[in-house]
Symmetry: C2
Subunit: 665 residues, 2 copies
């Protein structure tokens, strides 16, 4: 039974599981747990005492026949695949120096994965590598991954990063510093995960199950990294719970936030362990007074021993605020790569205009900017007579025309508007709008590319909305440079400036989606994407700035920026799968508009960020520096970006000469 229902949210995270011990009668275990409020069980596949080397010698040439409990007929195929996650034997240690143990481990791992595949399980839980070593374990899992159809493998990793406790326990900053920093690297479970998945080449069926026990949580920075990793489940131990005044299990504030964050990132909770609170739970979810412990082991009759825990998790789920309209709109775009636009070469479709015209926040910022520009440009004494010439370049179906007219009305000033639009289909709608609204005397419609139009007069104000997610990436600079011929020398451009921003991210899902194309070109392309299951590892930094109008005698829109990102030591090491890109634009003086996270305009939905991938994921050790280079290159026919990193490792320069990705002029 799902934890709850949220309108618009179909995330897997509403299903809660529980980890169970080995049992010959898995059908009873499953029934008891489904009745007890869980949706699936994480169950061992083999008797934990099984060891291939102790098994009876197989006939010559034959294979070991594992002593599985029962057959696949115990459960129906749909029960196996919907309600059981296979748990691999926890004793396996493929990197053991004990040859027999290592060999037994390899045989058992293969047997169990093969059995799990036979049962069509959706996922298997792989035990945590017992030591820091995992190369042989990874090799064997990697071999298995090559042959799996769709089963996910969840590598169980403790959610620990010892640095927080160490730093807290030693106040002596100077002497202890070095010792601690060594410990961070050694004991950070992320390192082991990273080694394992790098060896397995970021296989899309290899993911993580985080183990949350009574140990204190890592620092927020260290936790953050995991949001960009393919975490599928969180195994929440009863020992991680506190007891409230009434004797019921509950979680600390930090743990509550963490679990909520799991829900928001499609991570399923799996409860594990024995009940630790002295609560007797009667039927349903309401609890009676008393201190008698729920009887264990015969869940079919009595109340499930973890009932209070699953009720609490359900409570956390239901307590989440409902999705806003914007969130629901964005839900289906989360972490979904969109091919970049070719705005000058292609024409937008009606549906696209429709969507973007609804962004009221954006247009109210434009209205404010136009209002202020008009008020400052027209002297008080000329207000009644002066007619300001305003040209909307790239007018589309007219939203900025409407905005400008509204701003003029509010400012009580006269306006003559030219609406310049190259898309003949949008021009049709523009004419109908002007007729409908009775703007015939105010608005002149020009069906022309702004770069080639010969204007009958010069403009006081040039208004445009040509910005892409990365600011200049839809060639606003080139368009406005072409259009400023018909702007008065003291005229105003709205926007007057814009700057792109970039920051390194962990984004395993995006990386794998790019990789799935199986070519280099897709790694040398940028994508518009609603970044969600992504870890923003450093605050974004500014990249390229453009100002308009630009009256310099020789306009050069090529740019080069070297960026240096310092990674916080308390985050631990991290994987960088590329860069998240944003922009901020100054429309007029104080009026800005943008999606750069720190200064983003709230409730605006016209732009998702942009993602620049790296061909090879970059390992950044704790506290080190990432140096990235971004170029904006311009030829007579196209504009493109090139990018690379030179520290802590050196990547090839991506997209030389725009060979994989460019925007046509």
């Amino acid at each position: 039974m799902p934890l709850g229902q949220r309108s618009g949210d179909n995330s897997e995270s509403r299903y809660c599981g529980t980890e169970v011990a080995y049992n010959d009668e898995i059908e009873n275990t499953l029934t008891a747990n489904l009745t007890g409020g869980f949706d699936f069980i994480v169950a061992p596949l083999l008797n934990p005492s099984y060891r291939p080397s102790k098994a009876k010698a197989p006939p010559v040439g034959g294979l070991h026949v594992p002593p599985f409990a029962g057959s696949d007929l115990i459960l129906s195929p749909s029960q196996w695949s919907s309600h059981v996650v296979g748990k691999l034997s926890t004793w396996i240690d493929l990197d053991s120096e004990n040859d027999i143990l290592a060999s037994d481990s390899e045989i058992t791992l293969k047997q169990e994965l093969s059995w799990a595949s036979h049962l069509s399980l959706q996922a298997c839980l792989l035990p945590t590598p017992p030591s820091g070593e995992c190369a042989n374990y990874a090799r064997c899992v990697n071999q298995a991954l090559e042959g799996l159809s769709s089963m996910q493998l969840w590598l169980r990793m403790p959610l620990t990063c010892n640095e927080v406790e160490d730093v807290e326990s030693t106040q002596d900053e100077d002497a202890a510093c070095k010792v601690n920093s060594t410990q961070i690297i050694k004991e950070d479970s992320w390192e082991c995960w990273n080694t394992f998945r790098m060896l397995s080449e970021h296989h899309s069926q290899l993911s993580v199950a985080l183990d949350i026990t009574s140990e204190s949580l890592p620092s927020p920075n260290a936790l953050k990294r995991w949001l960009g990793e393919p975490v599928r489940a969180a195994v929440l131990h009863t020992s991680a719970f506190l007891t409230n005044k009434r004797g019921y299990p509950c979680l600390s504030k930090r743990h509550q936030m963490l679990v909520t964050s799991f829900f928001n990132h499609n991570i399923q909770v799996v409860l594990s362990g024995m009940p630790q609170q002295l609560v007797d739970v009667s039927e349903g979810s309401s609890a009676s007074e008393g201190s008698e412990k729920g009887s264990e082991g015969n869940g079919q009759v009595s109340v499930h021993p973890l009932r209070a825990y699953v009720d609490y998790i359900s409570h956390l789920y239901k307590r989440m605020p409902p999705l806003t309209e914007q969130e629901r709109f964005e839900m289906s775009y989360r972490d979904f790569l969109q091919a970049p636009l070719q705005p000058l070469m292609d024409n937008l479709e009606a549906q696209t205009y429709e969507t973007f015209e609804k962004d009221n926040v954006k247009y109210s910022q434009y209205k404010l900017a136009i209002y202020m520009a008009l008020r400052e440009r027209v002297k008080e004494e000329d207000a009644e007579t002066a007619v300001t010439v305003l040209m909307v370049v790239g007018a589309g179906r007219g939203p900025l025309v409407r905005t400008a007219l509204e701003a003029a009305q509010e400012a009580n000033l006269k306006l003559r508007v030219y609406a310049v639009e190259k898309n003949p289909n949008a021009v049709v709608t523009l004419h109908s709008l002007v007729a409908l609204e009775g703007w015939k005397d105010l608005v002149t419609i020009v069906s022309c590319d702004m770069r080639s139009w010969e204007a009958p007069e010069k403009a006081d104000i040039l208004v445009s909305e040509l910005l892409g997610s990365f600011g200049d990436n839809e060639l606003s600079p080139e368009c406005l440079d072409g259009a400023q011929r018909f702007l008065k020398k003291d005229g105003i451009s709205i926007p007057s400036a814009y700057t792109s921003f970039i920051g390194p991210i962990t984004a395993a899902k995006l990386y794998n989606d790019v990789k799935a194309h199986n070519d280099m070109a897709h790694f040398e392309t940028s994508y518009v994407v609603k970044l969600h299951s992504v870890a923003k590892l450093c605050p974004p930094q500014s990249v390229f700035t453009f100002e308009h109008p630009n009256w310099s005698p020789k306009i050069d829109n090529r740019r080069y920026k070297k960026l240096t990102f310092e990674f916080s030591p308390d985050m631990g090491s991290a994987a960088v799968h590329g860069f998240g890109g944003y922009f901020d634009a100054t429309l007029y003086k104080d009026v800005h508009l943008g999606i750069e996270p720190a200064t983003a305009t709230p409730d605006m939905f016209s732009w998702f960020p942009i993602y620049f991938p790296l061909r090879v994921p970059l390992y950044v050790p704790a506290g080190s520096t990432l140096v990235a280079h971004f170029w904006r290159c311009v030829s007579s026919t196209k504009v493109w970006y090139e990018w690379s990193v030179t520290s802590p490792a050196i990547s090839p320069i991506h997209n030389p000469n725009g060979r994989s990705y460019w925007v046509g002029l």
Copy 2:
């Protein structure tokens, strides 16, 4: 005029060039230098005073027209391409913080490369990056490389690595240690080269010209690295020369060795600078006494001012020992990737047998081993009566049969030989050999796979030559495990054991040859290759060992080895393009045979090393540790290797499940 002629050596390194100053009349400069004993000149393409930003403004929309001296007609097309290397302006600095300089540099670089392409020059010399920064320079060169047809770009790098001097000047180990190690990294010119070529993604047309001045040479370890890099030329400055007693230029012993090593690695010498020795050189190569300086600038009439230098270089060239027969045989195989054999699935050709049968050194080792085994096995008192049963498994066309019979004769012992061979074509030749030599009573020929043969009696000695370059890679273990059924329990296998070895190498040429296939499978394949232009960065370490006979109840020929290589700090950082693989075999007791460099059997030519590539070249910082993992995997139908590195960076596991490369059983 070439420096000299060595029989069998067609290396480019016999051509010597000289660096000349800018001159309007390049035709005269060329003639003077060709007459003066040089084969080509390295000449500036543009007047060094040219700056695009100071040039007259171009017409709107037009391009800068560079003030080139003269036209392409000054020289004939073949003169340009055979005798001129273009030297790019040395003032260019694309990473300058001075925007005008950076912009002028980019324009000039593109103009010069375009001009050089127009002239069909074979190569251009790119100036050394002025500071440690080179990302923008690399980006621009990388863009140019995308469009070049065949021209090579030689990036000029000083052959310096300051660490030697620093270590010598500070004897205080403890305190100075850290400072020095920082300096190593900063001032090692290899680092800058590495950054540049990593950004350019190991482009095959980007190579190095090393500058050798009066500065002392780096440590032998630091020098060694360059042998695996694509070094095409060495610019030898006159300041690097000493003066001998008679006033003639000469080089120090270390410099002589270096220049000889350049000759051996196809690296051309370019002389540069003004004469520094007080020698007047008369015509030809013999020198007269006196102290008058050769007149400069009108080389057409007088003797070339660098005549004594080029004569000395020619002397070094001619002084090299002539190529041995083995070297001449191997010359055409140097750094040439050979696809691995499928010895069990395919049959060898006659030519292959022919070649390998000529390896006298190998067979004399076998003879010694068989001789010793016979002598130890047969008691003195039984010598006249006992007949030892010796089986050659994989007899081919019979060389080991002959060797065994010779050994028995020398030992004065009786032998009954079985020659087992699966290739029916080789069996034909075996029969003819036996008839020809009159061995009919001694040798039984068996046309059968040794793994399935039912022998009429058991053998005292099993002799085989099934080893590959990596020992077990041609499945000697599996074959001998199959054959030992007909070996007596106390019988002897020759070889009795073998071990594979592996060591990290810089091998830019091999890496690029693998990369040229443009797929992943070739990076997951091992190659037999005569390693020549390769830097062996660490002594090889042992990997897998097999012993025969192997009477353990359950034979397991799978292996896993984790290898740890410590990189010498005095080498500086290095690039690892993969691993060189070797083997050493114990034939019998002290008699061994192998190609592991430290213990290699001299003058044996049957095996070249094996090369295991890495998909992404690995940067190993000075003094750090490389951890590599090698697996030998076995299924019912095939054997394959998997490999990976986990330090200083983590690679994917190569060749999982033998998906790209395997040897069939």
